[in-house]
């Protein structure tokens, strides 16, 4: 808009510079901290210019928290969650939008309500389920008397067990189960013109063919958006990996590994002051992949975030 408002323009830039500082200065100071020696960092005032120990600190953090394994775990988990989410969300939304059958609305509401039950409010029982995924079904069979019947007929005890603790499946499945992506896909499918489907039907394509050859190619941007958002979501998980991996050395994730760089009050390290330079170097490593994904996929990221959180 063409208008002359020099004072306001100055104020605008000033305010936005403050915003920039709020976003950037903490990141910068963390970076600087990661380049200092232990002695330098514990000498106030806080340093504003980088020192020369960056590589040492990165190497030290890498070794101390065993980040090679942890980053690999995080990567496997995040990619699997994002890919699984896309697969699951697209077929579920496809069934909800393009099919008519009894019980469809009930299924819709069943999935919808899960948005109100975040993992954090049901952690203890979800952990119990993860310890044996079949426990719900075992209980149902026990209560309905089927187990008893089975025992009478075959003479063996019916015991279903599938332990997810310390497994990739356990890290991934509960995060894939959420309903967010389903609704993103549903919104998109609702905008697909009916004529497309009629034309596909006319040409003799069945539902699966229509899904594979028409809907999937149309939803590429949607997929990219969902992939980005779910990748970040999974990468940044903390509470769930913490619960489900008791074998922290082999199955821990990168974000969890931060615990090893910060003395926890309850641990053997007994609290106290962390080696901040190493801790901050660890922070940089852990955060870098997620930052990179957002920087590269910013357009999709913003799109996915805005469309999915409804």
């Amino acid at each position: 808009m063409i208008e002359r408002t020099p004072v306001l323009n100055f104020v605008t830039h000033a305010v936005l510079l403050v915003g920039l500082a709020i976003a950037f200065v903490p990141m910068w100071l963390v970076f600087v901290a990661a380049t200092l020696s232990l002695q330098e960092i514990n000498t106030p005032p806080i340093s504003l210019l980088p020192g020369s120990h960056l590589w040492e600190n990165l190497a030290e953090a890498w070794a101390r928290a065993d980040l090679g394994v942890k980053l690999t775990n995080s990567l496997i988990m995040s990619v699997a969650v994002a890919a699984g989410k896309i697969a699951l969300a697209s077929i579920t939304a496809f069934a909800l939008v393009f099919f008519r059958f009894p019980g469809r609305m009930a299924a819709f509401w069943l999935i919808f309500i899960t948005l109100m039950l975040p993992l954090e409010v049901r952690i203890v029982p979800t952990y119990a389920v993860a310890a044996n995924v079949f426990s719900p079904y075992q209980t149902i069979l026990d209560v309905t008397g089927f187990s008893w019947l089975w025992q009478q007929l075959t003479g063996t005890e019916l015991a279903l067990e599938w332990n997810l603790l310390n497994s990739y499946t356990g890290l991934i499945l509960p995060l894939v189960a959420t309903a967010t992506g389903t609704f993103l896909y549903r919104q998109f499918f609702l905008t697909v013109p009916e004529e497309l489907m009629e034309a596909a039907k006319m040409d003799g394509a069945g539902p699966l063919r229509f899904f594979r050859e028409i809907l999937m190619p149309l939803s590429i941007t949607n997929m990219a958006a969902l992939f980005t958002i779910m990748f970040i979501y999974a990468w940044n998980q903390y509470l769930w990996p913490l619960l489900i991996t008791t074998d922290r050395t082999h199955r821990g994730t990168a974000v969890m590994a931060l615990r090893q760089l910060i003395p926890m009050s309850g641990d053997s390290t007994g609290g106290g002051v962390p080696d901040w330079n190493v801790a901050m170097a660890g922070c940089l490593i852990v955060v870098a992949p997620a930052l990179l994904v957002v920087a590269l996929m910013q357009r999709f990221f913003v799109r996915g975030l805005i469309a999915s959180d409804k």
């Binding site: 306001l8 305010v15 069934a95 954090e120 203890v124 029982p125 957002v294």
Partner: protein, 294 residues
């Protein structure tokens, strides 16, 4: 919702829905049911199943002053972080939307913090606010304990609010900016023709049109502050000093996994669940109405 062209082969539709329904049942409804079961029963001390306890667990929870302390602190945390993250995000979005030179750079930088994992942000701010090495270290040299979150509960609360808001500032900014960009330019231009300056347009046109977004973000921010605070607390203050930052989720985790009080933790979970449901319900009612009137 009313499509003419649909498939009626029920079994394919059912088959496609099955995986999601199975997962949702296993990881959502069953645990929620289990939480309800635990909340209304009490484990017998020598094993042998649970006995029905009615509302006893809830009575225990509600008569515990430590619980009300956690509720109160959760409220403080929710209000503090929501006000800080939303207020600043709105200010920056409004000014960024003026699209002066270089606005793209501001925009990009303000979005990035959202990629940072909350626990990592927590660790970073724990360092920045560390009494011995952070930004306030120099002041602490002059006046010992001028700033010390490991001793002063109020300082610890400020620390987690700031760390949490830093990340959610970016989140809110993205939504505000998108909402501002969806306001038709013609409206702003017409208003400019009538002689209103930029501030006047912000106040009379953009802010009222942002109301739905603000409401949406308000609910999301409050809900998330109840459930999403765990990582930050666990890596910065561990709920201390002397429980000054033990919020509701942290207490559930602590009572459940460290104290092994499943019934108490389950009762607390149910309360938190109802709270989240109530908030979400309000939000959906509202969104439905907005869609309806559009």
């Amino acid at each position: 919702m009313d499509r003419r062209a649909v498939y009626k082969t029920a079994w394919i539709g059912g088959l496609l829905l099955a995986p999601q329904l199975l997962l949702v049942f296993t990881f959502f409804y069953w645990p929620t049911g289990a939480a309800l079961f635990w909340a209304f029963t009490l484990e017998r001390p020598w094993g042998g199943g649970n006995e029905f306890a009615g509302l006893d667990n809830f009575r225990m929870v509600f008569s515990d002053t430590a619980y009300w302390g956690a509720v109160w602190r959760s409220m403080v945390f929710a209000l503090g972080s929501t006000a800080l993250a939303m207020g600043l995000a709105l200010l920056f979005a409004l000014f960024c939307d003026r699209q002066l030179r270089g606005y793209k750079a501001y925009q990009t930088m303000l979005i990035w913090p959202y990629a940072v994992a909350a626990p990592a942000a927590g660790v970073a701010f724990r360092f920045l606010f560390a009494p011995e090495a952070g930004v306030f270290a120099a002041l602490n040299k002059i006046h010992p304990d001028f700033w010390n979150p490991s001793v002063n509960g109020f300082h610890a609360m400020i620390l987690i609010v700031v760390a949490y808001s830093w990340k959610y500032l970016a989140y809110n900014f993205i939504f505000f900016l998108a909402a501002l960009q969806s306001i038709p330019r013609a409206l702003i231009e017409a208003s400019a023709m009538d002689g209103s300056g930029p501030l006047r347009r912000m106040w009379d046109i953009q802010l009222p049109l942002l109301a739905p977004t603000m409401f949406f973000l308000l609910v999301i921010n409050i809900t998330d502050s109840f459930v999403d605070s765990f990582g930050i607390i666990d890596l910065t203050t561990h709920g201390g000093p002397s429980k000054a930052t033990t919020l509701m989720v942290y207490k559930i985790y602590f009572d459940g996994f460290k104290g092994l009080d499943y019934s108490g933790a389950a009762a607390q979970s149910i309360v938190l669940m109802l709270l989240v449901m109530a908030l979400t319900f309000v939000q959906f009612r509202f969104i439905e109405r907005r869609v309806h009137y559009r």
